[in-house]
């Protein structure tokens, strides 16, 4: 939403002049590089946000300034210190012209789309080809939107929700991931660009995967996405983020925050397929993906499941977690992560058992090849009052080659004797015998690896929404190209 000159005047008079003298360019598409309080105000003004939200951002920004030199150092990832001032925090200038047709698109990219089985029309959209407004999917989107409206489901960009449903946003924003939670969440709270807001009213079962709708309509994913999903009593929603097609970004660092709130008897399923640009074969370039995701099972009998397929990014740092506050609540985490070439991932989950009779299931499958380094880091905490808590964790690592690494660091902290916590982990490789068996049946090395890896990840892949399962399986194969042989 572009601010009108009147709004700018109002803001200016209320808060004093912008220090950096670019007010005359309020119509411009971007703020200059760097991070300071005026940029935060600029972002808020551009979005025409109410005062409470600006205050919220400013508090976060000031906290960030105090802590910006304390990047978390305990994760098993190596990267040079991030220069937070060397980035655009609002709408970087576009550097390239849009391609006019698929013929102008990088053939390597097209080859990947083919392998994933993505239909031609979608390839155009994904590659940023300048398409006409008349596009099949637009009508599909309209049908979905009206259906959702009829059921009272709110699904819109968060910036829109701030205008149309401010009370809802204000009630829940920052309630699951507090501003002070970690450095990247603090930064995100100050400068978040946009993201999804979903609210499902009591008793409503969202009629479709919010994935499909989202995929067709999503604009280029912002650097600081902020998503908030609230499932009211007895409701159900299934949401899918991301896509299998390799995604480039003009930003090196992505720091998203996702908050889920499930009230009594409600269920939220959140699936992610992440294939951000992982860097080239020598580890140059590639996106840093630092994400804070947390769900709160606030009400009794509520349930939150996280499913993720992480194949991209140069560095992944994320721990989708569930706070099991309500009695009988259930948390689930299913993950497949691939690190090939020089990718690094330190990922896992936290299941915090607070209520009674809570249970959590963690299934993590990590595959490492090339010089990839991957760590599963999980926390299962059973608090003193969490009677009868149950956890089952299974972490398996598949290593391919002599130079990759697969590490497992589970923390199990139990303070209640009625708890039952069980954790198993194993590390193995694709054996030469298995590869030879497949090849003797006519499969190429690559097909064999894809087949075996999919078998290894089966339990997790089964949890994905149907329409993504097939693409995701192909994605696993593509991500491991060159790993064997």
């Amino acid at each position: 939403m572009v601010s009108t000159p009147e709004t700018v005047e109002t803001v200016e008079s209320a808060t004093g002049e912008y220090k950096y003298g670019f007010t005359t360019e309020i119509e411009s598409e971007f703020a200059p590089k760097g991070l300071n309080e005026d940029i935060v105000r600029f972002i808020s003004a551009k979005k025409n946000e109410p005062g409470w939200l600006l205050d919220w951002r400013l508090k976060a920004y000031r906290l960030f300034e105090e802590r910006r030199h304390e990047e978390p150092a305990w994760a098993n990832v190596k990267h040079p210190p991030i220069d937070f001032d060397d980035a655009y925090y609002y709408a970087a200038p576009k550097q390239t012209e849009k391609p006019q047709s698929l013929e102008e698109v990088d053939p390597e990219l097209l080859r990947t789309y083919e392998k994933l089985g993505i239909p031609l029309k979608e390839q155009e959209w994904l590659a940023g080809v300048a398409v006409d407004a008349v596009f099949d999917s637009v009508s599909v989107a309209t049908t979905f939107k009206s259906k959702l409206e009829k059921m009272g489901v709110i699904f819109c960009p968060i910036s829109e929700a701030v205008q149309t449903h401010p009370d809802l946003v204000r009630k829940y924003l920052g309630s699951v991931v507090p501003v002070a939670d970690n450095l990247y969440a603090t930064l995100n709270s100050a400068v978040f660009s946009d993201g999804s807001f979903v609210y499902v009213p009591p008793g409503v079962r969202c009629p479709m995967e919010l994935s499909t709708y989202f995929r067709i309509n999503a604009a280029e994913t912002g650097q600081f996405e902020r998503t908030l999903i609230v499932a009211d009593e007895g409701s159900y929603v299934s949401y899918l983020e991301g896509c299998t097609a390799p995604q480039r970004s003009q930003h090196q660092m992505h720091a998203a925050v996702v908050e889920l709130v499930a009230l009594k008897d409600a269920e939220i399923k959140y699936a992610t397929v992440q294939n951000w640009y992982p860097g080239d074969k020598d580890g140059k370039g590639g996106i840093y993906n630092f994400v804070t995701k947390r769900g709160a099972c606030r009400g009794a009998n509520s349930k939150i499941s996280w499913t993720q397929v992480e194949t991209g990014s140069a560095i992944t740092w994320k721990y989708p977690s569930v706070l099991l506050q309500g009695d009988n609540s259930v948390g689930e985490f299913y993950s497949v992560a691939i690190t090939n070439n020089y990718q690094q991932a330190d990922t896992g989950t936290k299941m915090i058992h607070l209520g009674r009779n809570t249970s959590s299931t963690i299934i993590s499958k990590g595959i490492s090849a090339g010089h990839g380094q991957q760590t599963y880091r999980g926390l299962v905490r059973i608090s003193g009052k969490a009677e009868n808590a149950r956890n089952f964790t299974q972490c398996d690592s598949l290593l391919i080659g002599e130079q990759c690494g697969g590490h497992t660091v589970p923390y199990i902290e139990a303070r209640n004797r009625t708890a039952h916590v069980e954790h198993e982990a194993s590390t193995s490789k694709i054996s030469d015998d298995q590869l030879f068996y497949c090849r003797q049946r006519g499969m190429s090395d690559e097909d064999a690896v894809a087949l075996i890896v999919n078998g290894f990840c089966k339990e997790v892949m089964r949890k994905l929404p149907m329409e993504f399962a097939v693409e995701a399986q192909k994605l696993l194969g593509i991500s491991l190209e060159g790993a064997v042989g």
């Binding site: 054996s431 030469d432 015998d433 298995q434 030879f436 068996y437 497949c438 090849r439 003797q440 049946r441 006519g442 499969m443 190429s444 090395d445 097909d447 087949l451 075996i452 999919n454 078998g455 290894f456 990840c457 089966k458 339990e459």
Partner: protein
């Protein structure tokens, strides 16, 4: 010692003075063999004679080095072909110890294998429905429970189930040259009969089989055209099916102990 040349037909498989070493140690010391289409040859021998080495070098397993001699399949030098190329050209190995692949269903695996060959031959791939129909028909012939299709490949299979699964794969892939490595070991008499029936159903003027076995029993059901005795890395005797019965009576003692 050389196998008798078949009359008339050009051999599908021709092995000339084959020497094979594993990590520098010579196991096969000059094998000559010719197998024509339509024929079933049995390779028998005491433990350690090199029978499995023979099977592995034909199928192209890493670590088995041809140090001298040739293996020609349809006139082409097999040693230059990768394992999957040999498979797509119609060579099938029924493993003595089939490996487990967790999480991969028998049907998923086999469909990938079947379609790899079909694509190579320029045929359309089988979709799930067509594949299932074909698989069920073959399984019925082999008296196999359909539940096998959804089990993870060889995981938790008994010895007999693994062998039957190998023959099932063979009947689905319809190879031109089948190499059966001790397919009879671990089978009771009923399973043996079923497996042999499966192999026999594939017999045709265009196809050939190499049946590697220690015991004569299987050869009552899969009647060979030629029998060769492999001892200490060489074929020391060849003959007709009677040779197998003689070996059953007298054992391998006359051929010396394993190297």
């Amino acid at each position: 010692m050389s196998a008798a040349q078949p009359e008339g037909k050009a051999p599908m498989l021709e092995i000339r003075n084959l020497h094979v070493a594993i990590e520098g140690k010579e196991i096969l010391r000059g094998i000559d063999l010719a197998v024509a289409p339509g024929e079933v040859h049995a390779i028998m021998g005491p433990n350690g004679s090199g029978k499995s080495t023979f099977a592995y070098v034909l199928s192209g397993r890493d670590g088995y080095e041809v140090t001298e001699g040739d293996i020609l399949y349809d006139g082409k030098n097999l040693a230059e072909m990768a394992p999957e190329e040999r498979a797509r050209a119609g060579l099938f190995l029924a493993f003595q110890y089939p490996v487990e692949i967790p999480g991969v269903a028998v049907s998923t695996f086999l469909r990938a294998a079947v379609n790899a060959s079909r694509t190579y031959r320029g045929e359309d791939e089988l979709d799930a429905v067509a594949f299932l129909k074909l698989a069920k028909a073959k399984m019925a012939e082999l008296e196999m429970d359909e539940k096998f299709l959804s089990r993870a490949l060889n995981v938790g299979f008994s010895g007999g189930e693994k062998k039957r699964n190998e023959v099932f794969q063979m009947t689905m892939l319809e190879p031109r040259l089948a190499v059966l490595d001790e397919t009879d070991s671990g089978l009771d008499i009923d399973a043996l009969r079923i497996v042999a029936d499966g192999v026999n159903r594939l017999r045709s003027p265009d196809r050939a089989s190499l049946v590697i076995t220690h015991y004569q029993r299987l050869l009552d059901y899969i009647v060979p055209d030629r029998v060769h005795v492999l001892a200490q890395g060489r074929i020391v005797k060849s003959g007709g099916k009677e040779l197998a019965q003689q070996l059953e009576k007298k054992g391998y003692a006359e051929f010396g102990t394993a190297a």
